[in-house]
């Protein structure tokens, strides 16, 4: 509604403006027309006056000439001349006035023509008078040519004037019509505009009123909102208070609940305890029963058990003495009843033993003690005793002490024996160890000597044979040289044997240094040392992920060296040698494997495999002394492991060694 009002307003305003414009235009036009009318009136007036003037001038000339004619006074000539000038000026003026009216212009030209004629006539008159006298002039004048001319002028002037007036009238009428039209139009427009303006005012008024209403409503709403907001605040405050109150309540409820549950628990406790009490009462009854049975049972037990049992009262009087004790001491129960236990001990230990017994009065039971018992035949037996105090029913005092013995005489003897034997053993072990150590030392010295002393002669043999060859080559024939060379080679062989023996013996003597080391890196290092042997041969070596081993790293390295060296050596006749090295952990030990596809060996002779200086192949097929595997076996056995091998002749061999994981 608002928008359309606005539009209406705008629209209305436009219309009003447009209307006003039209009115203005109409007014302007009307004014213009009025002005035009005025102009035309002026114009017509001018034309009329002008033409009248011309006529009058003509008349003046006429009268002047007449005058002259009459009087022959030259003073009448002056007006003619003057009028003459003036009249033509007038005529041309009139002509100009009618510049857009060809008809009128023609008429003016006619007037001009006739005027000239008249003038000429007048001049002729004048001339005649002046020259020929009055009669001639009157005669001339009587021709009425002059009058004719004047009439013509008068006529034309009238026509011009009438024409002019007629035209003026016409124009006036037309104008009046226009004016009237314009006026009417203006009035109408004016009325319309007034209407529209009123309308506009009404609408604007409405619009403004509406706005006012809206504003009022808006301000009412704002006030209402403020009210609401305020009330909401109040409500919120109230709500917050309520929440706090609620929390209070909840808290109090919790407290109440806690108290209630505490009460419940207390009740349960009580119920439970009541039950317990009932149980306890029932138990007591059964206990009493059992006790009665127990007493009877114990009586029998005590009497007939194998272990000697004695009971004495706080006054150290024997109150019970069972069968076993009777046997040990050779005394009957009735003999000892009421007497002190001291009578049972060998005299030398009496005091000490009684001391121990007195200690039993304090505390509920005694730790195991050893007290000897005397038999009436003089023999003494050693027993291990434990005792217990039997307390009164109120638990405050002991009513009796019961002691049970265990014959340990024999055991003591045995223990003494064992101790003696152990001592002897210790001594023997120390002796043997010393012997072993000295033996080892001797061996070491021996090996050292062997290595030094055996080698020297070898060196000499080889050396002098060499010198012999060098110095006497001329005298020696082929055979001789060959023999000498054999001698030289043999000394070298012997040297190698000696070295091998020494190594073997040393491996048995050196201390094992057990460490955890990485087998993989050990094998890699070992393989590097075989670089030369591997160069130029088609060998594929596969090393799988090897588990760590725990042992003497340098010795185990020797094992790897020997096994790998063998694998390389014995596969040298195969076009492509394949060596697989692997390891696994099984049953608490690590098992390593070196497998080759070489010559293999005959399993029939497998038990010789790890023997010292034992070979399963000919030296000319595969060189070697037969110490490598013996060393491997020695080392692995010292680690607590085992060596074994599998093979098929010409189809390779697999060698295994195990090391416990400890």
């Amino acid at each position: 509604m608002q928008i359309s009002i606005r539009q209406k307003l705008i629209f209305m305003s436009f219309i009003v403006l447009a209307g006003n414009g039209f009115i203005g235009y109409a007014v302007y036009k009307s004014n213009q027309k009025l002005f035009e009318s005025e102009q035309w009136v002026n114009h017509t007036e001018q034309a009329i006056s002008q033409s009248s003037e011309i006529q009058s001038l003509g008349k003046e000339i006429e009268s002047a000439s007449r005058g002259f004619i009459i009087t022959n006074d030259s003073t009448f000539l002056e007006p003619i001349i003057v009028s003459h000038k003036v009249v033509f000026a007038s005529i041309s003026q009139l002509r100009q006035l009618f510049h857009d009216r060809p008809l009128q212009v023609k008429r003016v030209d006619s007037i001009s023509f006739y005027m000239q004629k008249r003038l000429d006539f007048s001049l002729q008159q004048v001339e005649l008078r002046s020259k020929h006298g009055l009669a001639a002039a009157i005669a001339f004048t009587s021709t009425n040519i002059g009058k004719h001319y004047s009439d013509r002028i008068r006529q034309i002037t009238n026509v011009i004037q009438n024409e002019e007036l007629a035209m003026l009238e016409q124009r006036k009428q037309t104008n009046e019509l226009s004016i009237v039209t314009f006026n009417r139009f203006s009035v109408v427009m004016f009325l319309l505009m007034t209407m529209f303006t009123v309308f506009l005012l009404i609408i604007t008024g409405k619009y403004l009123l509406q706005n006012k209403e809206k504003e009022e409503r808006a301000s009412e709403l704002v006030i209402a909102n403020k009210e609401l907001a305020f009330q909401n605040e109040e409500k919120e405050k109230r709500a917050a208070e309520l929440i706090i109150a609620n929390q209070e309540l909840i808290f109090q409820n919790c407290v109440k609940e806690d108290k209630a549950s505490a009460l419940i628990i207390a009740n349960r406790e009580l119920a439970f305890q009541n039950k317990e009490k009932e149980k306890r009462a029932a138990e007591l009854i059964t206990i009493n029963e059992s006790r009665r049975e127990m007493n009877a049972y114990l009586e029998n037990l005590i009497n007939y058990t194998n272990a000697p049992i004695i009971v004495w009262n706080p006054q150290y009087e024997i109150t019970r003495f069972n069968k076993a004790f009777e046997i040990i001491t050779g005394r009957a129960e009735r003999e000892v009843l009421g007497k002190s236990p001291a009578i049972l001990f060998p005299p030398s230990q009496k005091d000490k033993s009684m001391e121990l017994i007195r200690e039993t009065q304090t505390g509920a039971c005694m730790e195991v003690v050893e007290i000897s018992i005397l038999h009436i035949d003089g023999s003494v037996r050693l027993l291990q005793w434990n005792s217990a105090n039997i307390t009164s029913s109120d638990g405050n005092s002991a009513v009796a002490t019961i002691a049970q013995g265990h014959d340990i005489t024999l055991r003591k003897h045995a223990e003494a024996e064992i101790k003696k034997l152990n001592e002897t053993l210790e001594r023997k072990v120390i002796e043997r160890t010393e012997q072993l150590e000295s033996a080892n030392k001797e061996l070491e010295a021996f090996s050292y000597s062997v290595s030094h002393d055996l080698r020297a002669p070898l060196r000499h043999i080889g050396g002098f044979v060499d010198l012999l060859i060098k110095s006497n080559s001329a005298q020696l024939d082929e055979t001789g040289l060959r023999y000498l060379n054999i001698i030289s080679e043999s000394t070298l062989d012997m040297g190698k044997l000696i070295d091998a023996l020494l190594t073997f013996s040393r491996l048995g003597r050196t201390e094992l240094l057990r460490t955890n080391f990485n087998s993989g890196s050990t094998v890699t290092r070992v393989l590097k040392t075989f670089k030369d042997e591997l160069a130029g041969r088609n060998i594929e070596i596969n090393v799988s992920q090897l588990p760590d081993a725990k042992g003497d790293e340098s010795l185990i390295t020797q094992v790897w060296i020997n096994l790998i060296s063998n694998a390389i050596k014995y596969s040298k006749y195969k076009e492509k040698a394949v060596i697989d090295i692997s390891g696994k952990i099984e049953n608490g030990e690590t098992i390593f494997q070196v497998k080759d596809n070489g010559a293999g060996f005959d399993v029939k002779y497998a038990d010789k495999l790890f023997g010292v200086f034992q070979r399963l192949h000919k030296a000319k097929d595969f060189e070697g002394i037969g110490i490598g595997l013996a060393n491997v076996n020695r080392i692995v056995m010292r680690h607590g492991g085992k060596c074994w091998a599998e093979s098929e002749v010409d189809n390779g061999a697999s060698f295994y060694f195990s090391i416990p994981n400890k």
């Binding site: 050292y448 290595s451 030094h452 080698r455 020297a456 070898l458 060196r459 000499h460 080889g462 050396g463 002098f464 044979v465 060499d466 010198l467 030289s488 000394t491 070298l492 012997m494 040297g495 000696i498």
Partner: protein, 149 residues
């Protein structure tokens, strides 16, 4: 090269070894410079120009080829003596012995031996080694300046 004759002192109780050594050195024309001591005592006698070697030689060898296993005084003891004497502290000493025992090695190096050569069984190797040693120490190497008498 010095005008002084460079002596090679061989200390070894085995005449056969000595003979082989000299045979090897002679291949390098060094046999003339050789002096032989048969045990540690004689070696010191030579160095101090006393006893067997009184008034003999110039006492400061270009190199000493020292065996270890000898009677009376062994090579380690000789080395100890030599190195404790400022006069002979820098004399080149090479242990030439059949012992490959670690303890001999450690002791010798601890005492400041210049080199340790194990007598190989292989005679060819032995002769080559001696030739190399002789050539190096008696010919190529510059011995320490002579301090002594």
């Amino acid at each position: 090269m010095n005008a002084v004759v460079k002596t090679i002192l061989i200390v070894d109780d085995s005449p056969k070894d000595v003979e082989l050594t000299i045979a090897a050195l002679s291949e390098k024309n060094l046999a003339n410079n050789v002096v032989v001591a048969e045990d540690g005592v004689e070696a010191l006698d030579y160095l101090y120009k006393r006893g067997k070697f009184a008034g003999f030689g110039n006492g400061n060898p270009a190199v000493i080829l020292l065996d270890i296993k000898m009677p009376r005084m062994n090579g380690i003891e000789v080395l100890k003596h030599i190195r404790s004497n400022p006069e002979f502290k820098f004399t080149p000493v090479i242990m030439v012995t059949s012992s490959a025992e670690e303890k001999d090695l450690i002791e010798s190096y601890n005492l400041g031996v210049n080199s340790y050569v194990v007598k190989p069984v292989d005679i060819v190797q032995f002769i080559d080694a001696i030739k190399v040693l002789g050539q190096y120490w008696a010919v190529i190497n510059q011995p320490p300046p002579f301090h002594g008498k």
